[in-house]
Amino acid sequence: MLKSITIGQFIPGDSLLHRLDARAKFIALLLVIIAVFVVRSFWGYLLLAVFISALLYTAKLPLHYFLRGLRPVYYIMLFTLIIHLFFTKGGAVLLSLGAVTIEANGVYLGIFMVLRIIFLIVSTSLLTLTTSPIALTDALEDLMKPLGKIGVPAHEIAMMMTIALRFIPTLMEEAEKIMKAQMARGADFETGNVFRRAKSLVPLLVPLFVSSFRRADDLAVAMEARCYRGGQGRTRMRQLKITMLDIFAVGISAALIPLMLLLT
């Protein structure tokens, strides 16, 4: 039920990708995403496929984690493929059934679009699966620091994200516990029409809200008791450090973009 949802799907490990600095990974991901959007030739796709497969191999994670990430977009991929098959025209006619024709360009574009979606999802999963949520928010805070000059509260945003991420598993656990407690009293969350089901969620959501507010209150008091005053002059337990490896990773990802533009 709730167990099948993994949020902040970080899988601990000690691969090359795990050891990269989270900021470097974040920037590299952005560059790869740009590359995925500018790619326009068969050789470009091939190069990207090789690049991402190499990263997958380096991450040393079971493939099914990545496949699971793709599951929610199966329908989008199928839809994209079908639309392109039937509506993109040009090139040789491969199949024709009366007014409906499938032409070569449609097949190419359809497959390429699906590949793009796969590249996007897999490369994003590579970041979230190899980076702990805490490292990720630390990286975001650091990358957003320059925005502080124009009044963006980078530290506060990062702190909010850290807290939210920290409490997702707690809330899931709490939700599951309350759900079980109500099921023990004969509650039924699984059958009935939409309205019945929505109504059956009340005994789950009310206690969940109550405990979330209580938790938030407790946390605020605990933070104040420790003299929390926001980001000014705050040091970190884990210092972020850029190594040659990180520069290398960002460099390679950056090189992808001109390559994609050149390979036509």
């Binding site: 167990k3 899988i11 601990p12 709490e174 516990k177 309350i178 079980k180 407690a181 109500q182 099921m183 023990a184 009293r185 004969g186 509650a187 039924d188 009340v202 005994p203 789950l204 009310v206 206690p207 109550v210 405990s211």
Partner: protein, 286 residues
């Protein structure tokens, strides 16, 4: 009703790096009229175990028989089983949700599809059973009550379904000594007067030793000891190793015995200890 567990194993998140074997080969029979205490440290699998008793969790392997019928079977009527096996979770006050105490306690009976008249009768009886006065609390919001009262309301919510077995997961957690005493007295009364089979989950020997008829000691997901309190407490060293220890009075008796005094060691309460010591002293005088 009788619940039998046969070779129950349960694994959390199998096939991931987070895999945990919570239960390993548990065999247990809970007879009608039993008063069983399940004891173990945090993480020993107590809570996981009791969630199997009403089908909230399905064992990874093994069978659970309720009155001889296998409940891991697809066709098993879990709602009927959950009605007969009442389970009160730890910190049950966190599950209260309704606008009034009455509505919250009535949640279970309503889910059973009982007529309104029967529901109100059951709610009133359940509230009285946990020591609350229905006229005073029924129309109040549960969130305006004190922590101890909220817990009683939650307990009434389970009792209103009139289960045959009552399972309580750490029912005394976070209560003050007085509240604890009252709660346990109520549970004892339910066992004696209403004839409920009781399964008590706790990490505290002190709380359960004097009332449970049978103790099941869990550690790392497997049964370490099982028997009457007297039998279990005989092996003080083993309990110590499991981080559980003896009730203070039993420990005192063990020490006296080790010092060469002639006292029984199956003693759990202050009163019984006093009698035993008086007898010992009297015996020496003569």
């Amino acid at each position: 009703m009788r619940i039998e567990l046969e070779n129950i194993c349960y694994t959390y998140m199998p096939g991931t790096p987070f895999e945990v074997k919570a239960l390993k080969n548990i065999n247990l029979t809970i007879e009608q009229g039993e008063y069983l205490a399940i004891i173990g440290q945090t993480g020993s699998g107590k809570s996981t175990l009791v969630q199997h008793l009403n089908g909230l969790l399905k064992p990874t392997s093994g069978r659970i028989l309720v009155d001889g019928k296998d409940i891991s079977n697809e066709k098993a009527d879990l709602r009927e089983i959950r009605r007969r096996v009442g389970l009160l979770f730890q910190f049950p006050e966190h599950q209260l949700f309704a606008e009034t105490v009455y509505a919250d306690v009535a949640f279970g009976p309503k889910n059973m599809g009982l007529p309104e008249s029967e529901i109100s009768e059951r709610v009133e009886k359940a509230l009285r059973l946990v020591g609350l006065v229905p006229e005073e609390v029924a129309e109040r919001s549960p969130f305006t009550l004190s922590g101890g009262q909220m817990r009683r309301v939650a307990m009434a919510g389970v009792l209103a379904m009139q289960p045959e077995i009552l399972i309580l997961d750490e029912p005394a957690a976070g209560l003050d000594p007085q509240g604890k005493k009252e709660l346990f007295a109520q549970i004892d009364r339910l066992h004696q007067e209403e004839g409920l089979t009781v399964v008590l989950v706790s990490h505290s020997m002190e709380d359960v030793a004097s009332r449970a008829k049978r103790l099941l000691v869990l550690a790392n997901g497997s049964v370490q000891m099982y028997g009457t309190p007297a039998e279990v407490f005989k092996d003080a060293a083993q309990l110590e190793k499991l981080g559980l220890g003896l009730p203070q009075m039993t420990l005192l008796m063990h020490r006296l015995k080790a010092a060469g005094k002639d006292v029984p060691t199956d003693i759990f309460t202050v009163t019984a200890a006093r009698d035993a010591i008086l007898q010992m002293l009297g015996g020496q005088k003569r």
